[in-house]
């Protein structure tokens, strides 16, 4: 069983593309091999900035021989038909066999396809993989027409078995496959000849290349932690940065430095952003002061001076950046302390959207809406309005102008410097949240009020001017805004009828349509939470469906009972009752909805059902009134046994029309009891 080693050696591959490229290489090659009839035991893909590597173990040496029988024309058919058959099968007349068939004598061909050696298949598959590789962005170089993420320089394609290693011959646009590569660009640039994956990985390591990105990440994490520990600091964890940095080096050499004292008073988010976004540094925190005081940069080389020159250079670049930041911070503080009036004026000249006015117009609307929403979320209306008015002022600050990702966070600092209450400052920071589906949801009442107002102004505004999301197009991120509202409402248990709230937003939005949009987003959200879509449909059909908290409580209570056996039987009973009733109503042309009387009962089971309904109905109504949906669902669940027993013992359709009508009216009481909770007809099963 041979093993296969592939290395695609190129100029530096963007770090963010490497993980996906590993997966794509593995999938394209192994799928290709399998399609061609080979099997393999295992496959692993690796990447460094300069190479994409695949190791396949236990590959079969040949694809199997296949035999296919094909029926041709009759032996007395015209010559042309036979010639066509010979062409299509690639056989000669002597190789055909004449056999008797129902319709006479017919030519049969047996086409045997010999198995092919693995090398031949590998060469084809790799050629196709390179030519069709799904890079997010690819390029040409020199005079060639081949596309790769950056210029491709070398291909190792090597099959290894007990007998030794053999290069799979392959040529693609002047690049010939071989068994050689190069080590680290600076520390070991010479050619290396390899005989298989283990030899390759070992020789690369000696040539200062750590092949596995996970190993590089682990080494960085470990060494950074050690460096920090030695100074009594701790690294601020950042897995995204770690993955990126591991994709920027072949031989990670973490180096630690201290931030100059003059910058330590900068807000921590400013330090972190400057260091992470621009320098790809990890932040080191001093647990004693709680401040970010140091950094770790990851070099790609071991130097005779142990990184001293590199660290000094990095420190210099950081100082230049932080000097800029400190300059912005000082200027911004002056404006903040003087009340931020210039910034408020400045928002007037920034267009939010041509039909929806300036940012200042928008802020005024959000402030009015936040005031309206405040009582619903337990916030002081004055504070909510004030918070909405200052929440976006930082957009005019020099710091946010330079680092847009600091919006909100800087707003909090400036609000505090302006002497505003903490709740107002926190709202400035938190009112954009939640942005992503896994973001934390604000819980402070003032923050919740402004966050809701911000999103609802956006939604009603864009709805009013007809800029709704279509298909995959959602340029104003309205789906995200709606999901934000849903998460804010649910996690803070905000009781409100959304339709009423829409009416207080930007005038002219179609509330019904917007509510339907919310319901779609809610379905997606709840489905991700594991709530069945049919259960959501069943509760969406109920009145009061613009109160999301109520809606979800219903759905959750219903979902829970339906996972029990009792629940599924109950559902069957309710559905059976509903079906019989609907059929009878259609046949008779009347609605059975009133007047079931116990005195027409003929069986014990009918009387028992009357009794159970008499007991359950008021209990369900009361529970629904109190919005205690688990109790309401429990109430209807008590009907399960009497309903089952009823259907077991009683024939609905009897000749006695009075008894039949009475039984149908009894069924309608069951249907009505169910309708207090949900539209059970929409639930599957």
């Amino acid at each position: 069983m041979p093993d296969l080693l592939i290395e695609l050696f190129s100029e530096e591959i963007p770090a963010r593309m490497q993980a996906r490229a590993r997966e794509d290489l593995k999938k394209l090659v192994t799928d290709g091999l399998v399609t061609a009839g080979l099997t393999y035991a295992s496959a692993g893909a690796f990447s460094t900035p300069r190479r994409l590597v695949l190791a396949v173990e236990g590959l079969t040496a040949h694809s199997p021989t296949t035999r296919e029988e094909r029926k041709g024309p009759r032996t007395d058919a015209p010559e042309a038909a036979l010639e066509g058959f010979l062409r299509s099968t690639g056989l000669t007349r002597e190789q055909l066999e004449a056999r008797d068939d129902k319709k006479g004598q017919v030519w049969f061909a047996t086409i045997e396809k010999a198995g092919r050696p693995a090398a031949e298949i590998v060469a084809e598959v790799l050629d196709a993989t390179i030519r069709n590789f799904p890079w997010p962005k690819s390029m040409r170089w020199g005079s060639g027409s081949l596309r790769w993420v950056r210029p491709l320089h070398g291909v190792i394609c090597l099959l290894t078995d007990e007998a030794g290693a053999e290069v799979v011959p392959l040529e693609i646009e002047g690049i010939t496959s071989g068994n050689t590569t190069r080590g680290h660009r600076f520390m070991a640039p010479d050619e290396i000849t390899v005989s298989g994956f283990d030899d390759y990985a070992a020789k690369l390591r000696r040539a200062k290349v750590m092949l596995d990105s996970a190993e590089r990440a682990a080494a960085i994490r470990q060494e950074a932690a050690n460096l920090a520990f030695a100074r009594g600091w701790e690294i601020v964890p950042d897995d995204g940065l770690l993955t990126e940095v591991a994709g920027l080096v072949e031989w990670p050499v973490p180096l630690m430095g201290a931030i100059e004292d003059r910058f330590l008073t900068l807000p921590p988010e400013v330090l972190q952003t400057s260091m992470k976004e621009h320098q790809k540094f990890f932040s080191a925190r001093n647990p004693k002061t709680g401040r970010i005081e140091g950094f770790v940069t990851v070099a790609n080389i071991e130097t005779p001076d142990h990184g001293e020159t590199i660290l000094k250079g990095n420190q210099r670049v950081l100082a230049a950046r932080l000097s800029d930041a400190a300059f912005f911070w000082d200027n911004d503080l002056r404006e903040a302390k003087s009340g931020m009036g210039d910034w408020a004026d400045g928002l007037k000249s920034v267009t939010f959207q041509s039909q929806l006015g300036s940012q200042a117009d928008r802020v005024a609307r959000i402030a009015a809406l936040a005031r309206e929403i405040a009582p619903l979320v337990g916030a002081d209306p004055e504070l909510a309005e004030q918070a909405a008015k200052v929440a976006k002022l930082d957009l005019r600050s020099a710091m946010v102008g330079e680092f847009p990702e600091l919006q909100g966070g800087m707003g909090r600092h400036y609000a505090l410097e302006a002497g505003l209450p903490a709740a107002v400052a926190d709202a400035a920071r938190d009112h954009y949240s939640p942005l992503g589906p896994s973001d934390d949801v604000p819980s402070a009442p003032v923050s919740v009020a402004v966050a809701l107002a911000d999103k609802l102004d956006t939604l009603t505004g864009f709805w009013a001017i007809g800029e709704k999301p279509t298909g995959s197009k959602d340029p104003f991120a309205l789906r995200r805004a709606a999901l934000g509202v849903i998460r804010l409402v649910l996690s803070n248990k905000v009781r409100a009828n959304l339709s009423d709230v829409f009416a207080k937003g930007y005038p002219g939005a179609d509330a019904g349509e917007l509510l339907a949009f919310f319901h779609d987003r809610l379905k997606v959200y709840l489905r991700d939470q594991g709530v069945r879509h049919d259960i959501i449909d069943a509760v969406l059909a109920m009145p009061g469906n613009d109160d999301l908290v109520l809606l979800v409580n219903r759905a959750v209570a219903l979902g829970e009972v339906l996972t029990t056996e009792n629940g599924t039987n109950l559902l069957q009973g309710l559905k059976r009752a509903s079906n019989i009733l609907t059929q009878a109503e259609e046949k008779d042309g009347v609605e059975y909805s009133f007047g079931a009387d116990e005195k027409f009962s003929e069986t014990e089971q009918e009387r028992a059902l009357f009794a159970a309904l008499d007991k359950a109905e008021p209990a369900i109504r009361e529970a629904v009134r109190l919005e205690d949906f688990p109790a309401a669902v429990q109430g209807i669940a008590t009907l399960r046994a009497p309903i089952d027993a009823f259907f077991e013992a009683v024939q609905i359709n009897t000749d006695n029309q009075i008894v039949r009508r009475n039984r149908l009216n009894l069924l309608s009481r069951i249907r009505e009891a169910g309708r207090l909770i949900a539209d059970f007809g929409r639930i599957e099963g």
Binding site: R140, W141, G142, F186, V249, N300, I301, T303, T309, G313
Partner: protein
């Protein structure tokens, strides 16, 4: 006189030292060492030696210093790193040679940045010039965490696919030199050898001009005049492109270069208007689109000429 050999081994001591080393290095690699283009441009890419010569099949290799102007970056000479007038060093080779990265690293060595002591890295950075209708893939090159160059494989220029592909290197000379020389403020950087009889710093040469231009760019330049110049340049560019290819004597002379000059002019006038703060966010895109339209038409014409195709210039008709 210092011998060329000494220049290569001793550490550079001043700004012009670094420029001279780059010039001799790239000359030794076979580039034609050109002089700056004699017009106001925002970057070395605007030089016709790059923009136009990256089009068409004709091989090309050039290197040059290009004074560049970015009016919005003016800081009255006070900021240690930002200038409204600065220098770029530009290398353009078509087709891009397979060892372009190594050639580039050689140039760093030539100016005193030994990659065995420094941390040199190629970090993804895709380049796009909306005004030139151009884009390419490549990296920003980091040295010890500082961006020292842009490295781009041109894919499209003026809306035309680049076949073959040019490799373009752009060095921000002041920043690079400040790092090599260990200078904190650009104005303190020695321009000539500090041991010269008359030592001159960057500030001696440029500080006053930076101050004057910052004032003019931000406050004084007359926007009505600039706008009129922009429109004149745009019209002249179009008129030049629209002119019949035959001149008064019947000689066939398309005028891609003079037209392109007008496109460059329009681009710089747009930058000045931008610095004056009279272009709104929505208008910005429209202006950029107007310049791009000019650049594209210039490219359309240039690719038909012998400078792009490599065919000999057609002879004039007899008697003309």
């Amino acid at each position: 006189m210092t011998s060329p050999k000494d220049v290569q081994t001793a550490k550079p001591v001043c700004f012009q030292d670094i420029i001279l080393r780059l010039q001799s290095y790239w000359a030794a690699q076979g580039c034609a060492v050109l002089q700056p283009y004699d017009m106001e441009v925002g970057a070395g890419t605007f030089h016709p030696a790059t923009t136009l010569r990256s089009l068409g099949a004709r091989p090309w290799a050039a290197a040059y210093v290009q004074p560049s102007r970015r009016p919005t970056d003016g800081r009255y000479g006070e900021n240690p790193n930002r200038l409204q007038h600065y220098y770029q060093y530009q290398v353009i080779i078509k087709p891009s040679p397979p060892n372009l990265q190594d050639l580039y690293l050689g140039s760093l060595k030539a100016i005193g940045l030994d990659p065995m002591i420094h941390d040199v890295r190629f970090v993804e950075d895709d380049w796009e010039s909306p005004t030139l209708g151009a884009w390419g893939l490549g990296w920003e090159v980091w040295c010890d965490g500082m961006e020292v160059s842009q490295f781009t494989y041109f894919q499209q220029v003026g809306g035309h696919d680049c076949r073959p592909v040019s490799g373009e290197l752009t060095y921000g000379l002041e920043r690079l030199a400040m790092y090599v020389l260990g200078v904190e403020h650009v104005m303190d950087m020695p321009f000539n050898d500090p041991a010269s009889a008359i030592p001159l710093t960057y500030g001696d040469i440029f500080r006053q001009a930076e101050r004057e231009y910052s004032r003019w760019n931000f406050e004084q330049a007359d926007t009505a005049t600039l706008l009129k110049h922009f429109e004149d340049a745009e019209a002249e560019c179009a008129r030049t492109l629209d002119a019949a290819e035959a001149d008064s004597a019947g000689r066939n002379i398309p005028m891609a270069h003079p037209a392109y000059d007008q496109a460059i002019k329009a681009s710089h006038l747009f930058n000045l208007l931008d610095a004056r703060g009279v272009i709104s966010v929505t208008e910005r895109q429209a202006y950029i689109g107007r310049v791009r339209a000019l650049a594209k038409r210039c490219a359309d014409l240039f690719v038909t000429t012998s400078a792009a195709t490599g065919e000999p210039l057609p002879a004039f008709p007899a008697g003309a």
